[in-house]
């Protein structure tokens, strides 16, 4: 089982969020735990730059050999950047979930609520495995 980085925040939908402590632009990806459960990712659909999203909205999807999952916006805000590299090479989600496999950046509006700490996410995933 891959370890869970301690400098990120998480959601119950197995996304990671970085940049919470630094400012307004957050980077979002899916966790290694989720990538491992999906299997080889073959297709990633990311939201459009400029789209306004609300926390909990389905904004994209991640598709593997066996299944497809929605990507949810973890916060309210505006999509300011998407990772074209992961669209071109979806296997980055598997090979570098917390790095090159990031999905999109969102400019936070309001506050980021209901995110999980690394400890809480560790508890969530150990309960599922």
């Amino acid at each position: 089982m891959s370890s869970i980085p301690e400098d990120l925040h998480y959601t119950k939908e197995h996304e990671w969020i970085s940049g919470i402590d630094d400012g307004l632009t957050l980077t979002v990806g899916i966790t290694a735990y989720a990538a491992e459960a999906l299997g080889d990712v073959v297709y990633v659909q990311v939201p459009e730059v400029g789209a306004t999203v609300a926390s909990g909205d389905a904004v994209g999807e991640v598709e593997s050999t066996k299944s497809v999952s929605d990507i949810f916006a973890p916060v309210n805000g505006e999509i300011v950047e998407v990772n074209q590299a992961v669209v071109d090479d979806p296997s980055l989600v598997n090979s570098d979930s917390y790095g090159e496999g990031w999905l999109f950046r969102v400019r936070l509006e309001g506050t980021a609520d209901d995110l999980l700490s690394p400890e809480e996410y560790t508890a969530l995933t150990s309960g599922e495995s």
Binding site: E36, G39, D40, V42, Y43, Q45, E61, E63, T65, K66, V68, N94
Partner: protein, 363 residues
């Protein structure tokens, strides 16, 4: 709880992702399912298929009993050969697709799908009444390991003195492999050359280990059900529960050739199937290749591009390693071979209708 196969310990030590399949705890994948798929296409893969059922039909009238019980002409099968066939109900609905091996003149082994074999064993027992033949479900006693891929013959050949070169496709022979007695059959479900080895359950693990060691230098790796499914889909092979069901006849599935009306005597389903043989089914099974990257999956509607009228349904779909695009099998209304799309979670993604199989190995 799912039932483990005799190879459960091996799968766990390999770190496999395990899944329930038809009530069995089976390896879904060991690492990357794409790498497993590609290993089978380019070198070799090792599969645990111990969840399949082995039902023996023996006795002086075993052949006649199977001629009556199944749609195929099994009395015409030569000892040492195997045949793909089906068991249907009185209405002609497919109860299972089977491979039947004639091991000796009066001994047949019927290999049935994991989800169906208790039913198949019960049906065969009922249908064999009145024949001098015995039906015995020996599934519990057997492990089944498949070696599939272009390097299979080299790998298996290094572990046995059996004449593999003389073993034709859809033939089987008793052999000793790495010191273990096995029935070695040249069959598979991947579209590649390969072998299936039926062994005593207690021999499955040592045989797996021997094959792993002999195969490693040839690029053999263990492969799970995920790769098995994408391999058989590329090869255009039906899966019971997806392309085949009791609601469909062999003709509906485009497999009417397995129904042998020319064999002697009556058989279960003959009366229902005979009138259907020259009548086109309302839908036919087709191959679809997606233009985009989103994957048509089982149950998704096939629609007319533009007006969105539903004209079919996807039965299996997956990203294809060999084609580099998503592929699917679907039942589609007769006469439609272009201008189609699949409704993928609300958006209509264009697909091309193609002849099956999607992939054919180079001979």
């Amino acid at each position: 709880m799912s039932r483990p196969t005799p190879l459960r310990g091996v799968h766990e030590s390999l770190g496999a992702t395990l899944t329930d399949f038809a009530g069995w705890l089976m390896p879904l994948r060991y690492g990357s399912e794409s790498a497993e798929h590609n290993a089978v296409r380019q070198a070799a893969g090792l599969f645990d298929l111990s969840h399949m059922g082995e039902i023996f039909v023996t006795g002086p009238q075993a052949a006649e009993a199977l001629d009556y019980a199944l749609v195929g002409h099994l009395s015409a099968l030569e000892p040492g050969r195997a045949r793909y066939t089906m068991i249907v109900d009185v209405e002609g609905g497919v109860l299972d697709d089977l491979i039947v091996y004639r091991l000796a003149p009066a001994e047949f082994m019927v290999v049935a799908n994991a989800s169906n074999y208790p039913r198949v064993a019960a049906e065969l027992t009922g249908r064999a009444k009145g024949f001098d033949a015995a039906v015995e479900d020996r599934s519990e006693r057997y492990g089944l390991i498949a070696v599939q891929g272009p390097r299979s013959a080299e790998i298996l050949g290094s572990l046995t003195d059996a004449d593999l070169e003389g073993l034709r496709y859809y033939a089987g022979l008793p052999a000793v492999v790495a010191g273990h007695e096995a029935l070695v059959a040249r069959t598979g479900y991947t579209g590649e050359d390969g072998f299936e080895l039926f062994v005593a359950a207690e021999d499955a693990e040592p045989l797996w280990t021997a094959l792993t060691e002999a195969g490693a230098p040839h690029g053999l790796i263990p492969a799970g059900l995920s790769a098995r499914d994408t391999l058989r889909l590329e090869a255009g092979m039906p899966l019971y529960g997806n392309e085949l069901s009791a609601d469909l006849t062999p003709f509906d599935a485009g497999l009417g050739r397995v129904v042998r009306f020319d064999k002697p005597g009556d058989f279960v389903g003959r009366a229902a199937l005979e009138p259907l043989k020259d009548v086109p089914s309302p839908r036919r099974l087709v191959g679809l290749v997606a233009t985009g990257r989103r994957v048509p999956r089982r149950g998704y509607p096939v629609v007319v591009a533009g007006d969105g009228a539903v004209v079919g349904e996807v039965t299996s779909g997956a990203p294809s390693q060999s084609l580099g695009r998503p592929i699917a099998m679907a039942y589609v209304d007769n006469g439609l071979s272009s201008g189609l799309a699949v409704d993928i979670r609300g958006s209509h993604e264009p697909v091309e209708v193609v002849a099956l199989p999607f992939y054919r190995r180079k001979k």
